[in-house]
Symmetry: C2
Subunit: 330 residues, 2 copies
């Protein structure tokens, strides 16, 4: 007789009976202290080969917070919460992960985006710890490429004492973002918008003293061997993605073409609160995903759930993300 | 001007131009040896809290192999290959992962299924290495529960020298599987079926000398504190799943209610080659997933892609798996 029913989920089914029946056996083996819980998560890094390149996804962390009004600007909060619920996020909350990526091209070790850095506090700012777990020495990073100048992408270029976290690396920033965020005129215009005001202040603080050190990059040029910057502006004026190419291997590093895919890839018309030009971001998103879906190109997404790799497919007028299957050995 | 198009994917777009333009900058920084590729994947373990229990998914590995005729018994090979292609498996191939789970109940450390063991060779047999990475000492395992007596679940109870890999653990086997596979009459009937013949031989070899040591368990009883065995027979006569319950936390350990979800959860009527009673396996599958979907219960799946946790939803008359989002810190 099969008894597989809700009762099994609603209580420790048959527990009393079972304890009575096999209690002696459970007690027999030996007196031994119970194993303590480990209490720590696995380090979050994951490797993929793209042609001859070795790509390592490295988590900076993930934040779960009560979804603020306007997190999705152009749909009611209830509709956004329904999408969160459909993705099994905790009731009333939204989870946003943050995942930089390291590309070893054989000649250059390139980090794309740097996470929050140590100042933001748990549960983010773990890039350095996860790099260490991955066996990647921050002093070995040749180039840090920033996709755009938002704090979750830029602030990890500094260490806890304000020094450079990747001391020997070139730091590359998108020209259009540098121009936009460093403009005093733009900053003055943003004084009534708390979020934008914070962003302008953060850029100035993060890059204080580094203006002569950063290298500005332009679209359709390489930022590293086999890594070409793409114009995916809208989220910010200089927001960039990257086409990675080695041999027959291809990958797109999408940066913030979407924030969390459960919302903005499933619903490409939704506007995340952080977009500077949300309408342009929508057009970019559709163009980017139409291309990626047609080519079945592997996508690395900063705000995808770790290991933050997947394929995008068209789903009517929307899209869906198919996460990669985890490959336990290279 | 935005130039985001197929060209970016088809070649290292703008590479020649870019190298010319920024070549000097790339050369300037310093003479330094290139960082060698790490050449190793991350250890594959992942932690989840279920009530007060600490659950650790631990990969034994994954196999990718040319899909044999009859891998799915009741659909043409081309149809199964189409499902593999839709899941981005390599052309003509199928990928099957193997993921045991460890549950620390606070008083007992329970391993459910033991992987292939060291004899099968790469790319499987990595349970011990991943347990070590997770900080779990095999000598601390109190109970090894085997969901059924197939080699990918049982053989890891032995170490490379044929000794017990979990030397102080109780080894629990489902009564109905023990009876079935240990029957000389059943073995004799299977002599014309190479697969079944192999299974019978493997059970005898794996459990040689252990008949008095193994503890047989029955359904609807606890196999460990808060871990109740469920009748999910069909795949084998004693195939078992487990309802895990701690406080308000619930999880189902499904074992092989499906083999790979990309095939058999998406298409619950498909019969995997390894089923002893495929029609019963289909009925079990529907009952199990109807229950899990209604209750939105977290499911740990031995053949789900690592970290082998997700939620099952109804999708018309079929089902779909929603993998958990990775939580980078506990």
């Amino acid at each position: 007789m099969t008894r597989l029913n809700r009762r099994h989920l609603l209580a420790g089914a048959g527990a009393a009976t079972a304890t009575a029946a096999i209690g002696l056996q459970l007690e027999v083996p030996r007196a031994r202290a119970a194993a303590p819980p480990a209490g720590r998560q696995a380090p979050a890094f994951y490797r993929t080969k793209v042609g001859d390149f070795e790509v390592t996804q490295v988590a900076d962390g993930a934040r779960t917070f009560p979804m603020p009004q306007g997190f999705v600007r152009n749909v009611p909060r209830e509709q956004a919460l329904a999408a969160a619920g459909a993705a099994y996020m905790p009731a009333g909350m939204v989870t946003v992960p943050f995942n930089p990526v390291v590309i070893n091209t054989g000649s250059k070790l390139v980090l794309i985006d740097a996470g929050f850095g140590p100042g933001a506090g748990a549960p983010v700012g773990h890039l350095q710890a996860n790099l260490a777990a991955a066996g990647i020495d921050p002093r070995a990073i040749d180039i840090v490429v920033l996709s755009h100048l938002h704090p979750d992408h830029t602030n990890g270029i500094k260490d806890a004492s304000g020094g450079l976290a990747f001391p020997t690396a070139e730091i590359k920033v998108p020209s259009a973002d540098w121009t936009f965020w460093m403009s005093d005129e733009n900053q003055a215009k943003a004084q009534d918008n708390a979020m934008m005001k914070g962003y302008f202040a953060n850029v100035r603080q993060t890059f204080a003293g580094l203006a002569d050190r950063v290298v500005r990059y332009d679209w359709d040029r390489e930022v590293g061997p086999g890594i070409t910057a793409l114009d995916t502006s809208g989220h910010t004026p200089g927001h960039s993605s990257f086409a990675v190419s080695s041999g027959s291997g291809r990958m797109l590093v999408q940066s913030d073409v979407t924030n969390i895919p459960e919302f903005f890839l499933r619903n490409p018309e939704w506007h995340v609160a952080y977009d500077v030009d949300p309408e342009k971001a929508v057009r970019t998103r559709r163009r980017f995903y139409d291309m990626a879906a047609a080519e079945k190109t592997l996508i690395s997404g900063f705000h995808f759930s770790f290991p933050s790799l997947g394929y995008v497919e068209k789903d009517g007028t929307n899209y869906r993300l198919v996460p990669v299957r985890w490959t336990p050995s290279l």
